[in-house]
């Protein structure tokens, strides 16, 4: 994915009526906009549509979801099972191929929250490892 120090962007260059355009995946475009600190224009009539803004953040959302899931120690399949959604759906969400609705995000947040809490409980209730005592009590 990298060329020297630069990441390679998968894109197509096209020429329309003498003007050059570059076609990139929407998630890449959104990522580049964020890095550049710019916001793409919104087509007229869609500015205040309910949920319209959600389509703009699928790339950022997918990255955050993956980070959160990995932090909880859950596999993709396990999180899908706990959130009661199809593994294929979670896979598409995490790849930025689809933007989940609020209900789906809520299921994922609840499932990850429960996993985090159970991990904390395990961490707190587990006694210190025996090897650690041996190593320090030499």
């Amino acid at each position: 994915m990298t060329n020297g120090n630069h990441r390679v962007v998968d894109c197509r260059r096209v020429d329309l009526d003498g003007t050059g355009y570059v076609i990139v995946r929407e998630s890449v475009f959104d990522y580049l906009c964020r890095k550049a600190g710019v916001r793409p224009s919104v087509p007229p009539g869609t500015e205040a549509a309910p949920g319209a803004g959600l389509d703009l953040d699928s790339a950022r959302l997918s990255q955050k979801l993956v980070r959160r899931r990995v932090a909880t120690g859950l596999s993709q399949a396990e999180l899908a099972r706990r959130a009661a959604i199809r593994p294929e759906t979670l896979n598409r969400i995490e790849r930025g191929r689809t933007t989940p609705d609020f209900a789906t995000i809520r299921k994922l947040v609840l499932a990850m929250g429960a996993a985090e809490r159970s991990r904390v409980r395990v961490d707190v209730s587990e006694p210190p490892a025996k090897e650690h005592d041996d190593a320090t009590g030499k």
């Binding site: 916001r39 205040a48 309910p50 949920g51 803004g53 959600l54 703009l56 953040d57 950022r60 959302l61 955050k64 979801l65 959160r68 933007t99 989940p100 609705d101 609020f102 209900a103 995000i105 809520r106 947040v109 609840l110």
Partner: protein, 97 residues
């Protein structure tokens, strides 16, 4: 274990109080101090939230105000003032059950 919310009684708090609490809760999820958040700020476009943040803000609001935000209402709550009004609307509804 969930602590009982101070809003679980019958008295509906004033809008200023709700708006202040909403700003405080939102500020915990965005890199903006509560006193810098304006009523007209849009969570997505002005405060840099994404849909994951919005869901988490909503869940925090539900716990804080002891309310349940329906998905169809959540999709319409985009500005800070709109969220405060939505919370007030839910607090004003008689408790089901």
């Amino acid at each position: 274990m969930r602590l009982e919310s101070e809003f679980s009684g019958t008295t509906v708090p004033g809008r200023d109080r709700v708006l202040g609490d909403v700003k405080q809760i939102i500020s915990e999820f965005v890199d903006v101090a509560a006193d810098r958040i304006r009523e007209t700020d849009d969570l997505l476009n002005d405060l840099g939230c994404d849909s994951l943040d919005i869901v988490e803000v909503t869940m925090e609001l539900e716990e804080h105000f002891d309310i349940s935000v329906p998905d169809e209402l959540q999709e319409r709550l985009r500005t800070v003032g709109g969220i405060a009004d939505g919370v007030l609307q839910l607090l004003s509804q008689p408790q089901g059950g």
